[in-house]
């Protein structure tokens, strides 16, 4: 039996009927076509499905869509504004912080969450903030440099 839920996704109101066992990650990807949110493990270990829910980063594979009823969600597709790419996106591109790109959406959203709270983080604070987002390609160095450089 499907349940009708309402969410604000990337500043747009959305009403959708979901199955009670559907995860937020699956609804974003499969029902709404927001495939920038990735699925690497489906059990909350890799961080590729990170989205910002009511201002906090969450693993959207561990959130049931019905739990997001009434919530505000930011996905990677919502980072870009009319003025262009978000400065974090620019920094990731500019510093070479992107390789295969599978962790990138989640990384950028975790970075946004950090920088919103702490605009000038030090190395340790950046590494702690993204420690739930695995990356196998970069060794994290250019990602850390990118995030630290956003507001410098």
């Amino acid at each position: 039996m499907k349940k009708l839920i309402q969410m604000t996704i990337n500043d747009t109101d959305c009403e959708i009927a979901v199955r009670p066992n559907q995860t937020l990650a699956d609804v974003l990807r499969q029902e709404l076509g927001l495939t920038g949110t990735k699925k690497g493990c489906e059990v909350g270990e890799c961080g590729t499905c990170t989205v910002i829910l009511n201002g906090k980063p969450v693993n959207s594979c561990l959130v049931l869509a019905v739990q997001a009823d009434g919530c505000s969600i930011l996905t990677i597709e919502g980072m870009q504004t009319d003025e262009g790419l978000h400065p974090i996106q620019e920094a990731f591109i500019d510093k070479g912080a992107i390789q295969c790109g599978f962790c990138t959406s989640g990384m950028i959203l975790s970075a946004k969450s950090l920088l919103d709270q702490n605009p000038h983080p030090d190395d340790k604070e950046v590494r702690t903030a993204i420690s739930g987002n695995l990356c196998r390609c970069t060794g994290y160095q250019k990602i850390v440099e990118a995030i630290k450089g956003v507001n410098e």
Partner: protein, 786 residues
């Protein structure tokens, strides 16, 4: 300004904006009309006879469109190396490991497919199984594949020089045994695919593969289709590192299900299935004996190795060769004997992972070389420098180094790490260690015997002259190859990078053997350069006719035509261009003729301007059995210095910083080269400190997830000081050679040597868990007490 306008810079990657905005499409992001979903039934037992498979209940479930078993798939054998094709799409008579494929379902959605799989009933009769090398080779052990007595999948016996004679001339000989654990590549995107068999009988497979070309051939062979009717397209892929360099059963099953149903079929591995498919680093046990003279001259190495390989061969034959053949550089080794055995077990199959075959032998030997240096009273860096090979040297197994900046790498890390100030002067619990590495820049021969070019590239100019598109079947897997080829094309054509686009990863775009053996920059780079030279020559030839100026007196730079003897009157050409573009606002102007105008005129005169290039290495290597494995048109080398801290009370190792120098010949994109070094060191750090695929006593994986199989997080990874060494490789495009794989080689032994420096005890088994390190410290304390 340097010699070049585009290459050797820090150009932004072409794919980065799409990846930063969520626009990039990976295979699971693709939906095709009417698409079905597939799921597989895999063996729950490590070794068993299949008595009966009953699919009737699954077939009756509403929403199920097809259920297939070996009866439908046939029994065509495939694998990686044609000499050891030992896999079939499904098992028919017996299963060989927990995870072996038995049946599959296509249904209207994944839940239905999974439910149908659960309804398939298989009767098994369990057989005795073997899980370790010792069990597998024991007298009377059950055979996993009937034709391979004692479960020996492959063995290699090579001797170069005369090792025993050399040992007699040595002043110091020592023997050590080293072992690692099975790895998982830990790429973040689980393998996935969509097969689409269309009504005209053409099969298109979208797949997260490193090797579209090989997958195309295997799919065609196994399913009985002409190769030309099979097209493999690689969308964006979320990392590969080796295990995505072969054909998966899932790819074949999806194709079969699509052919049966006439519908597109999507399939994905779960993370657990990624571990079950395996194909990452083997477990190696190396016993090495090294002999030296007292002045430090390296005389001989005897290397015996057992690889625990799992149920099938995959890349294993190449792996067992590589575990011996790549130790002959970058130090002058005068005599070497190698005996390698790859052993089948009832576990998931091992294959190739970054630094294929040579990572663990390198780790073992570089630690032993440090021991030898210590026994001789020599500084380990000076010991390596004494034996270092130089450009133009040929190894004892006939590998020719047309460039080799190993001395430069060692000197660079010595300076960069302030080795002299730190070595021997750090407090207890802190250590500094060093190691080197050596790797191929692309395999010298294809996996199947063939005279094919290894890479072909086609470049087509848009008819307005404003864009050049590079078509290549090569595999961008995150390493940055598309950007590399765009940069090479732009530089060669003489146009800005922004005017070059790349279409890659599609078998319709040509032949490219793909992303393995660290081959793409050198091989596909060559083909790209040649294609661009061809296009440039075509444009200049038309210009030569139009302006009556010899082509040799013209060049193209930064998108403008350069005339050696000054600009001629080209008003006629410009007017011709402008007349065709009334209403446009971006007319070419200025004093110089633009490439856009020249290319437009070339199109008007000759039709589409399309140029192609191909690359194939020359005949390489010696004449002995297995001489092809290890051959390459060029060899990279590297050195790393690592500093660690060890908590003497808990055994926890922390890597504090790393200095790494890599000879990549010439850096096409400096940022991408650094990125490969940093990523390699991170993977090496994980392998050294935590990573181990663990099994229960029935061959089941205990940690098939990222919670318990730990890859480094941002908090684990130390800062890396990356140093690019450029030795100008004559066989590489613009002097470039590999960086993607070779950079991992010094990491593990440099950490091992640093840990020894910190705690004063050698550890010969990976990973360096706190428990293992603590026990080693404790044992040493007890020995000192006695």
């Amino acid at each position: 300004m340097g010699k070049y306008d585009v290459i050797n810079t820090r150009a932004r990657r072409l794919d980065a904006p799409d990846k930063a905005t969520g626009r990039a499409k990976y295979v699971d992001d693709i939906c095709l009309p009417g698409m079905l979903f597939g799921a597989m039934l895999q063996s729950p037992l490590p070794h068993a006879e299949i008595l009966n498979i009953d699919t009737s209940a699954a077939k009756k479930l509403p929403g199920v469109k097809s259920v297939v078993t070996a009866e439908d798939a046939g029994m065509v054998k495939y694998g990686v190396s044609p000499a050891r094709y030992d896999e079939t799409v499904f098992c028919k008579d017996k299963v060989h490991y927990i995870g072996d494929e038995v049946a599959a379902v296509a249904a209207i959605d994944l839940d239905t497919a999974l439910e149908a799989v659960s309804l398939i009933k298989v009767d098994y009769e369990e057989l005795p199984a073997v899980f370790t090398v010792d069990e597998a080779v024991a007298e009377g052990a059950p055979l996993i594949h009937e034709d391979f007595p004692r479960n020996i999948c492959g063995e290699v016996h090579n001797e170069f020089g005369d090792v025993e004679k050399a040992f007699k001339e040595c002043d110091l000989i020592r023997t050590d045994t080293f072992k690692n654990k099975r790895q998982d590549a830990g790429f973040l995107e689980p393998n996935g695919c969509i097969a689409d068999f269309d009504p005209l009988g053409r099969l298109t497979l979208y797949s997260s593969t490193q090797v579209p070309h090989y997958v195309q051939r295997i799919v065609a062979m196994v399913l009985g289709l002409p190769i030309g009717k099979v097209r493999v397209i690689k969308p964006c892929i979320g990392g590969g590192f080796g295990p995505k360099a072969g054909t998966t059963p899932m790819e074949l099953i999806a194709c079969l299900l699509s052919m049966k149903t006439g519908k597109p079929v999507k399939m994905n591995y779960t993370r657990e299935q990624v571990f079950l498919f395996g194909r990452a680093r083997h477990q190696f046990v190396h016993t090495m004996t090294t002999g030296v003279k007292k002045d430090g001259t390296l005389m001989a190495l005897k290397n015996k190795c057992y690889l625990e390989g799992g149920a099938y061969t995959s890349f294993g034959i190449a792996t067992v060769y590589y575990a011996g053949s790549l130790l002959t550089g970058p130090y002058k080794l005068r005599n070497m004997k190698y005996d390698g055995y790859r052993i089948y077990t009832n576990k998931p199959t091992c294959g190739a992972q970054r630094g294929h075959g040579s990572v663990i032998s390198r780790a073992a030997w570089e630690q032993q070389l440090d021991c030898v240096a210590e026994d001789l009273g020599m500084d380990p860096l000076e010991f390596r420098l004494k034996n270092v090979m130089e450009t133009g040297d040929t190894t004892i197994n006939d590998l020719y180094t047309s460039s080799l900046g190993m001395k430069e790498c060692l000197e660079a890390v010595k300076t960069g790490s302030t080795w002299k100030e730190k070595r021997g002067k750090l407090p207890k619990g802190k250590g500094i260690g060093l190691a080197g590495g050596f790797f191929v820049s692309g395999a010298g021969y294809p996996i199947y015997r063939s005279d094919t070019p290894h890479s072909t590239v086609t470049i087509k100019l848009s008819d307005d002259g404003g864009n050049a598109r590079v078509y290549t079947a090569s595999a961008e897997i995150g390493q940055g190859s598309d950007t590399t080829f765009a940069m090479i094309a732009a530089e060669t054509l003489g146009i800005p990078l922004s005017d070059v686009a790349v279409s890659s990863g599609d078998t319709d775009f040509g032949v490219d053997l793909g992303a393995y053996s660290s081959r793409q920059t050198l091989m596909t780079g060559h083909a790209t350069k040649r294609a661009a030279e061809n296009v440039k020559a075509q444009v200049l030839a038309v210009l030569s006719e139009q302006l009556d100026i010899p082509a040799e007196e013209m060049d193209i730079k930064k998108g403008l035509i350069e005339f050696r003897n000054g600009n001629p009157d080209f008003e006629g050409l410009r007017t011709r261009y402008l007349k065709e573009h009334r209403g446009w606002t971006d007319h070419p102007g200025g004093d110089d003729l633009t490439f856009r105008e020249a290319a437009r005129v070339a199109f008007l005169e000759k039709g589409p301007i399309v140029g192609s290039g191909a690359y194939k290495p020359g005949d390489l290597g010696g004449k002995y059995k297995g001489a092809a494995v290890g051959t390459s048109p060029a060899y990279s080398c590297s050195a790393a210095v690592v500093e660690v801290g060890v908590d003497m009370e808990t055994g926890k190792v922390t890597v504090d910083n790393m200095t790494d120098a890599h000879d990549c010949g010439f850096a096409i994109n400096r940022t991408s080269v650094e990125a490969q070094l940093q990523g390699s060191l991170s993977m090496g750090l994980g392998e050294t400190l935590f990573e181990e695929v663990k099994f229960d006593n029935k061959g089941g994986i205990l940690n098939a997830d990222f919670g318990e199989y730990k890859i480094p997080t941002a908090l684990d990874m130390a800062p890396v000081d990356t140093i690019i060494v450029e030795s100008d490789e004559p066989n590489g495009p613009y002097g470039a050679k590999e960086v993607g794989e070779g950079a991992i080689l010094p990491t593990i032994p440099a950490i091992l040597n640093a840990v020894y420096d910190a705690i004063g005890v050698r550890i010969w088994e990976l990973p360096l868990t706190p428990e293992r390190v603590y026990m080693a410290i404790k044992k040493k304390k007890e020995e000192q007490k006695d």
